[in-house]
Each structure stands twice: as C-alpha cells, then as structure tokens.
C-alpha cells in the first residue's frame, strides 16, 4: 500500500522537473509544491527509525539525543522566528534550497555508507533513496515557484563542500544520525515556508 503511494508522490514531486516550461501561476506552483512537502514531512521519522535500528547503541538507545552533533556541511533548520518572518519571498525559497541540496548529497553518501555494512537491509537503502528523490523533487518545486514569481534563479550554492570519505565507521554512523535527524527538520521548515507563500498567493 505504501509503495504505490510513495511512487505516486515521487511522480508528483518530479513532475515540475519534467515539465519545466509549463506556464502556471505562482499560486498553482506553490499549491503544487505544498502537498508533497506535507507528505515528505510525515514520513521523515520512518527513515530515522529504520536507520537507528541498524546502528546499535548509543544511536539506537531510546531517549538518545545529541543536539551538539552537527555537520558543517549541513546547516541546521532552526532559525529565529524574527529572522524567518523578515525574509522576503525569494529568501524563503533560497534559504531552503541550499540545505536541501546538501541533504540530497548527504542522503546519497549515507546510502553508500550503509550499502557495505547493511547489505541485508534493503529497506533502509530503499528509504534513503526515496528520501533523496523527494528532496530533489522539492528542490525542483522551489525553483519552479521562484520562476513563477519572477525571481532570479541562480544556481544553488553547493554548501556541503568537502565530504569526509575517510571517516571511521563510528563517524559514518554518527553522520548518518545527523543527516536523518536534519532530514526530519528541513521538510518541516520548507512546509512552513510554502504555507506562508500559499497564504500570500491564494489560488
């Protein structure tokens, strides 16, 4: 049941990428991007749970949290409300696009990291792949909205920069923990940005 639904959502996400020249109003673009973002947010916890089940203690311990753990290549989604509220339309979209680009790259890296230690866990690998595609779809939707709003669409800055390929197994596990954690936060931020735009540009 979940698989056809996920496939349908993925097609919805990728549709704007496939039809970039379609002329739609900003409101339609925003509305089109909002529902997939909502679905994406609801499923982020599934990826995190599956990932933690494969890693062991301390990552899989109940109640484990390490807010201090951060990746310099993946900015946190937290932002002060005042700052967020002062952003204009273009900034709302641009400040989400960069982290999502980083997310897609880290999700890809996670897939590579887990392919070796988890050959017997196809579920985790599939979920990571789906998450990456959703993030890419959201990126495409953001770009389409910007174009519809008549905003400049410069190439998104590649924030992650250097990726530490030679990390130890523990570092990889921890990195995956941070990525899946941020993957749970950024869709929420993106959905709120889209909700704001949706209210501003009603259909």
């Amino acid at each position: 049941m979940g698989c056809p639904l996920a496939l349908c959502c993925l097609l919805t996400l990728l549709l704007p990428l496939l039809t970039p020249g379609a002329s739609m109003s900003p409101a339609e673009r925003i509305s089109q991007a909002y529902d997939p973002a909502l679905y994406m947010r609801k499923n982020t916890s599934t990826v995190l749970q599956t990932y933690l089940q494969c890693q062991g203690s301390p990552l899989s311990d109940s109640g484990f949290s390490a807010p201090e753990l951060q990746l310099s290549s993946l900015p946190p989604a937290d932002i002060s409300f005042k700052t967020w509220h002062a952003l204009d339309d273009g900034e709302h979209l641009s400040r989400v696009q960069g982290p999502f680009l980083a997310l897609t790259q880290h999700l890809q890296l996670m897939g590579n990291d887990q392919r070796d230690p988890n050959p017997g866990s196809p579920i985790l690998l599939a979920q990571l792949s789906d998450a990456r595609l959703r993030a890419q779809g959201l990126l495409g939707n953001m770009a389409a909205i910007k174009a519809a709003l008549g905003l400049p669409t410069p190439p998104v800055e590649d924030t992650p920069g250097l990726v530490p390929f030679g990390a130890s197994a523990f570092k990889k596990k921890r990195r995956g923990y941070i990525v899946t954690g941020e993957y749970g936060h950024w869709p929420d931020r993106a959905m709120r940005d889209l909700a704001l735009l949706k209210a501003k540009y009603p259909i």
């Binding site: 203690s57 301390p58 230690p117 197994a169 523990f170």
Partner: protein
Amino acid sequence: MLFQIQISRMKTSNVIWVGNYSTVVKRDPVLHWSWKSELPLECATHFVRMRSRVDDAKIPEPRFWSNWSSWKEADAQKSLGRDPLFLFPKDKLVEEGSNVTICYMSRNQQDNISCYLEGQQIHGEQLDSNVSAFKLNKVSFIRKTGTNIFCKVDQKDVIKGIVLFVSKVLEEPKDFSCETQDFKTLTCTWDPGTDTSLPKRSSQSYTLFESFSGKKILCEHKNSCNWQVDSDSQEMYNFTLVAENALGNRSVSVLFSLTHRVHPKTPYNLFLKNVSGTKATVTWKVHPIGNYSTLLCQLDLLGEGNVIQQHNVSIKENGEYLLSELEPDTEYMARVRCADANHFWKWSGSISQKFITAEAAPSEALDVWRNVKSVSGRPTVTLFWKPLSKLHANGKILSYNVTVENLDRLSGLEVHSVPATANGTELTLDQDSYQIHVTALNSAGPSPASVIVVSGDPGNEEVEEERVNGTEDGFSVSWKPQSGKAIGYVVEWCDHPQDLPCDLQWKNLSSNTTSTVISSGAFRPGVRYNFRIYEISTERMAYLLEKKAGYLKELAPSDNPQVVVSNLTSHSFTLSWKDYSTDSQPGFIQGYYVYLRSKAEKECHPGFKKATLPDKSACCQHRIDNPEQKTFVMENLQPESVYEFLVTPYTSAGSGPLDAFTKVTTPDEYSHILIRIILPMIVCVLLIMITCYLKSQWMKEKCYPDIPDPYKSNVLSLIKSKENPHLTIMNVSDCVPDAIEVIHKPEGSKIQFLGASKSLTETEFTKPAYLYLLPAEKNYSGPGPCICFENLTYNEAAADSGSCGHFPVTPEALPGQPGPLTSPENLLKALEKNYMNSLGETAAGEASLNYVSQLASQMSGDKDSLPANPPEPVLCSEYKMQMAIPLGLASPPPAENSGLSSTTPLDQSEHYR
C-alpha cells in the same frame, strides 16, 4: 644471524616484550620484521631496540652478542589532531571469542571520561594521566554493522567512538569428500559452516590442494569444487581443503582411491512394457562408467508409498526386469537406482515411473443377502450386496447382473442388470422358489456368482424373541443349531432401526459357528437393535432360527406415557396408558412407577410407599412390575380433594422424568346422585315440551278448537239427556247458503258488503264482525235453518240492505222469555228454544228467519278470519246462539215486551255469549 629485539612502552625502562628473530643475511639486506601490539600504538609511545649474533653452526663457539642499538621511538600521538578525545583502535576486525584491548587518550587531564560498550559502561586501566586502556575478553558477535564502543567527556558535548567488527569463527569444513561420475571429473563437496562475511570483508574462501600432483585450485563455490582428472595413471588422490578469511584459515584432508569413489549418474529412459493384470516389464538405461565397469541397479516396486518388491540387477548399460505377482487394476511405481558393482560407494539418484496394471475379472463372489416381504400379496425380494473390495474387484465394476431362476417351474431365466452405483435391487416374485445368481462385472469379465434361494413362503416367523446384552465391543450373539445341515449362518440387523430404510446389515458365518460378536460403529446407546439369525440350508435357503433384541447400553426413558384418567368418582379414578409402546424405548421397560401426592393426605395408601422427588418434595410411589400392565386404579381417595399423579416407566438404567404431574380433583359424594336423577328429569321435560310444540295443532284441535264441533258438545248431551233424546244437530251441509257477506274491515280499510254499496268506516268496525250465510231464495224450503257465524262487525244497516232476511225471532219463538239472555241460564234456555224451533217446530216459511251460529272460541287468535274448512263438531266446543235483529226492531227501548227485548243493538257492538 640471530636478532634479539626489545620493546618498551611509555618509557624505555618499561620493557614489555623480548624476542628473537633469525634470518639469513645477504649482502645489503633490508630485513622486515613486524610485531603486533595488543594496545593500540596510538595510545602510548613505544620503544624498540635490538642486538645481533652470528647464528651459524659453522662458526665455532663462543658467539657474542653485539651491543644494543639505540632505542627507537614510535610515537603515533604526534600525528593526531587537536581533538579533545581519541579512541583506538578504529574499525578493528576481530574473531568472535578473542580478546581486544582498546584505549582512549584525552588532551585534558581534568576531563572526566566515561566509556560504554553497547550502552554498558566499561572500566579500564589508566596507563597514563591521560591514557586509559580497556581489555575486552571474548567479544561476541552482535550485528554485522559492528559493536559500538564510545566515550564521552562529562559536562561537555564530546562523544568519540569506535566500531569493533566481530567476525564469526571460521569453522573447519565438514563432510569433505570427493567422487566421480565418469572418471573425468572429481567433484569435492563439504559443509562450509558459518558464513564469516563482514562489511567490506568477503566471506571465507576455499582452496583445494592435491599433494600427489602438487596442483592447487581456488574453488568457485563455498561448498564444492571440481577437479579435473588428467589421465588414468593416477589412482590415489590426497586432497587438502583450506578455508581462509582475513583472520585465519582452517584445513581438512582426505585420501582415497579413484575407483572407490564412483557415484554413477541417475539412470534414464525408465519404461514399463507389456503391462498385464499381474505382470509388467521394466526397462531403463545407465550412463556407462569406463569400459569395464559393471553397475548394480536396485529396482523397487512401490505400492501406496511402500516398497512391495525389491530386485537387484547387474547391468552394463541397459537394464530390464520382469515384475510379477502384481495386483490387477493397481497403481504401482517402479524406481531404479544404481551403484558401482565392484566398490560400492553411493547410490545414484533415482528415476521412477508410475503404472497401473490391467483389469482382471473380479476374484470373489459378492456377499449377498435378501429381505423378503409381501407387497400387495406378492412376495417382494430385496437383494442387498456389499461392494467388492479393491483387492477383489480387480477393476472398476461396471454393473451387477442378477439372474433369477424359477425352481418350481420350467421357465426362462430372468436377467436384470443393475447399475454399478447400486448396492441392491428389488424383485417381485410369486409363491414359487427362486434361485438368484448375482455377479459383478468389470471390463475383464464377471465375478464368481453368489447364489441365494428365496421362496414366497416366509417360513416360520413366529420365533420367540430373546434378549441380548450389549458391551463395548458390540453384541455377543449365540444360537443353537437346528437342522444340523446348515452350510452357514447369517446374522441380520439394522444399523439405524429407527430410520427408513434402516440400513440393513448382515454377517455371514460358517456352519461350525454358533456365536459371534456383532459390532458396528453405528451402534448407539439407548437404541434397540433386533438381530435375526438365519440358518442357510444346503439348498441355500435361509430359515429364521432365532431373534434377539438388545441395547448397547440401556438408558432411562426420556418420555413418560400419555395417561388417560377415567372412571373418576369421589373415591377413585382409573389411569390408563395403553398407547404406550414398550418396544421403542431406550431400554427394556421393566415396569412403571405411579406417583401420587395430595395436600389433603399425608399418609400413603396401601401399596404405595413414600418417595422423595428430585425437588425434595415427598410423594407416594407405587411400583408396577409388569410392563404390559398399562392401567391402574387409584382407590381410597377423599372426595372433593386434589390429587396429583405421575406415571413413569423404568428400565434397568432408571426411570423417566419426574416433572409433569397431572392434577385430578375428586367430586363430592352426591354429585353422582344428582346427575342420575336430575338429568333424566330434565331430559323428560324437554322431550315433553318438544312433543307439545310439535303437536300443538293437534292439541289445539283436540282440546280447544276455534270452532267446536257441536256433535261433541256437552251442551248437546245435556239437552239430550234432559229433554229430548231424539234431538239432533243441524248439519252444516244441510244449509244451502246463497251468499256470503263479509263485513269485517280491519284497521281502517273499507269493506264492501255483498249486494250493498254502502261502506263502513273503520270506527264502525272496532267490534268483531260476523259472517252470514244467507239463503238464496226467500222461499227456500230446505230442511233446516241457515247458520249465522258470530261476527263482531255486524251492522243492522247492512243487514237491512241485504237481501238476506236475518231471521227475526218471532214472538212465538221466545215465549215466556223471562229476561235478557245475558246470563248463562237465560242463554241456555234461549238456545234450547232455538234448537227446538229450528229442529222441530219451526215451519219452513219461518225457518228462513232463524240462524243458529256456533260461536268462535275466544281462545282463537284470529277472529277476523274465516275458517277455511266447514266447522266440525268438537266435543269440548262451546255452543252459542246469536240473532240478528232488524234496526227497526232493535230501536225500541228495551222496556217493550217483545221477543227481542233481550237483544242488544249490534251497533253498540254487543253480542251474546
């Protein structure tokens, strides 16, 4: 050269290891030697030094050590970064069960550091102010993603960790063996055991090494390897199988002769030929092994999964075997496998083929039994037979043939074909004897005939029934031989005697048997089973020998009989339950219990004893031991009392339910007397009343007619007796009326008088009318006077207007009339006078003026209507006279002394009575 090496940790004086290393030293040599430290080198500075000595036997003793080299320092800490905490070794791979030492190094001595293994805190040994080591003994495999060990600095957000990859232990290959199927390839197989693969590290690999040839191959599979046999020259092989992974290796060897390891290939082309009912030929082929090898093949014949026959056949290439003693129409499986006949090593794989033998004629006669009954006066024989078992049917039964032969008369045979689905048939015969042959047919032919002889005469059916006891095993039935010429016996019964059909069963027994146990899965407790034992004569006729009846287990009756109360008196009543059948009960009825209870009587009657019912209430019980006694008289009862009774049968298992008592109230003592007297009286009165009602007309005519018969009048007899015995009464037929005038008009309607046009109003006719019969002629000279009927509607005017001269009474007619005629005496006298005049003294001319009328009785309900018939003499009639008086004569006052002085005018509606 021999080198002695010393290794120190932390400081040079702390020597932790000393060892020798011997090697051949050549010119400009660069020697390599390695040492593996338990403690990760990153956690502590290590120092090494060495010295050497000649280690050559050619060089004589004494041999001296060189001086120690200077200490060389190995300090990995210098290459570390500036992180506050380090944990080593990273991503170490160890075998399950081994010991591992890990260490952490902190930059800040003040930090309080705690370490955990899979969530459990571990405590180590502090090697230095900022270095601690933890020794993990016998680490176990937890998951393929590794065992996590991490340390964190308290009060700081610093977590460092390592992953320890624990591999499963590499096992020695098991069941290692090699064999050949064709002397060209040796196939070696083994059980690899546990997979030791880990992330980024593949599972163990296997290498096969043969010592005689010195060849070595890397096996492609984890559990098998193929070795090519180069030539026939090598007979013996010594294989070593080496299993190897990143942590070590295990090996196993086997030595064998090639000819002793022949495992033939699976035979092929297995066929069945010439399959008959009892025989079949099996053929197969094998792959040849060398030029001179002989194979031993095992041929199994399986039926229903079990091996029935087993045969060994030695062949080169083609095998063939004739299977016999097979059962017709039976499915078998032929299975063949082969092995080297000279040096048995292993059976080849098996090849099998199913086949079904041909059908044969049924081998056994049917087990036939019969039931003879009379339908419409003609004997009807129902034949039953049991289907042949698969063993005896030898094929699919297509039909049954029933041949009927009359033994008493020469007649043709009757042949009936019965479908295979039937297990019997019905024949209508006559009183002759018949021999019946029953055979079963399949495609190969008929079965032997089963013969039975039946006769229209049912024989002696009056055999006394005996009882038989049932046990868990069934009914043990025995009988006494009668004729001594029996060829067998048959016991017959019904599995379901309460159903229709009752599922007739029978059991054939030999002639020397006089008892048997009848068992059936259908037998149920509480059901009466009837067994009939027949003797089979030499003529194959069955004669009833004995009857038995019994229960597998008797049960208590479930129902009580329907009891009828009769002969109810004040002191007794009769109970009867004659419709109760004792044969269809769940046990042999041994008698009945009669229960009686009454609130009025505390003591039991004679013949009764006290009993307690299940509801703890007390009552009186009487036991009837005769099951055929189905009436009982309750006596010595109290009048006008309520009694409750219950009749319940009992068997050896108990009595029926004690729940539904019936109430009876005895009447009082006099009620029967009342019934005997009053009831007949009421009936008689009713009969009389009915008779009176039906004969009311007759009674009326006899007792109180509307017009009395003067001949029967008492007046006449009185007159006759007193004065003139010759006095007679005028006959009505003697009077010839010439007209009838009706002057009565009831309820306001007008009446037209005959011969007069004047009408009278209703008010004028409120009095009774009179009907006059007038003479036709004034000169009428008939023998007597006319009759005048009293009519309360009489009117003088009408009388005047009519031609009929109403007979005025002449003065002579009433001489000496002393007074009015209102009194009976006067009336009597007047009547006497009138009668005298009319009958004897009145002249013919004068007679037309006198009429004598019979007065209708006042009892009559209809004075207005004329009688349909002439008046007839009635004995009890009252006779009256009335006279019509002309108006002119009537008008004078009554004071006038005239013959009419006693008359009252009719318009005053007066008349004489």
